[in-house]
Symmetry: C2
Subunit: 173 residues, 2 copies
């Protein structure tokens, strides 16, 4: 029934929601009954100081993500696409610094990176390309049979990115 | 004569001009007679393939820069500031990925990072905030007593960033 390139049991998908303060991450494992959450959480990079410099933040993000990669050895990393016609170009540029470090952590461990744009992820997950953060959180709880809504929303976004890739693999090309 | 916080003989300043295809770098060493060029060149990250992915490019950039850092052990890294009101936000976002990896290489080696905006660098070096690439190249050749104009322009920009920091340290705060 499934396409030859579909999700393989045991495959691990690491979804990452980049941010300079908080980066959400989620490891899904493909099982016969569907995707299971191995771990999901956030890497906080702005703690301990009021206005930490960019460089130590990026180091904290890189170090945290490399720990997750070393522990779960994901087969693929999924990171949301960034657009130039973002509403807040300043935010997009800051996020791109974080994204660069996230891509590096993947390349260092020979993990391919896949990107989907935000509306594609939301549409795949909730059916609506402009779903709210709450809708994404609620849908993640229901779809992944979690005991509660994933918090903060960055965790839900990371789960959504990973789950989007899971579904994308099931579709014919 | 010099300010207490001015350039210290032996201090090494690493200037970096970030790019996803070509990143310029330049190591200046402060000497009694003025700054000397230890090494300057480019790290090319798009070679060998027509359209390489972002992740391997960032890994090539990171690896190349870490080599320079390990060899010259700079005391400070200087990277041009990025602005959101850039003419080309798409380019700014791509460059920010490279910049994130450059900041990470500094943080990994406990090197502080300093940023100046492009017009400040050009004004400090050439006297004009909107100097052309050719003016920056020519000024670098003259100021640093180089045998020829630094090529490609990315090398001149990296030299200019490092030299701007050298002069900035000589000014009273």
């Amino acid at each position: 029934m499934s396409a030859t390139n579909g999700p393989t049991p045991g495959q691990r998908i690491l979804g990452v929601d980049p941010g300079l303060q908080v980066t959400g991450y989620a490891v899904l494992e493909v099982a016969a009954r569907g995707p299971l959450v191995c771990e999901a959480g956030v890497i906080r990079t702005a703690e301990g100081r009021e206005t930490p410099d960019m460089a130590p933040r990026l180091l904290a993000l890189y170090t945290g993500l490399v720990e997750v990669v070393a522990q779960y050895r994901p087969n693929v990393m999924v990171v949301e696409q960034l657009y130039a016609h973002y509403e807040h170009p300043r935010t997009a540029i800051l996020m791109a610094h974080a994204r660069g470090v996230i891509f590096l952590s993947a390349a260092k461990h020979d993990i391919p990176v896949v990107s989907y744009n935000a509306s594609r992820i939301k549409k795949t997950i909730t059916g609506h390309g402009r779903a709210s953060k709450e809708q994404v959180q609620y849908t993640m709880m229901r779809e992944l049979r979690l005991a509660q809504v994933p918090e903060p929303p960055d965790v839900a976004d990371a789960l959504a990115a990973a789950l989007c890739h899971y579904y994308a693999q099931r579709l014919p090309a």
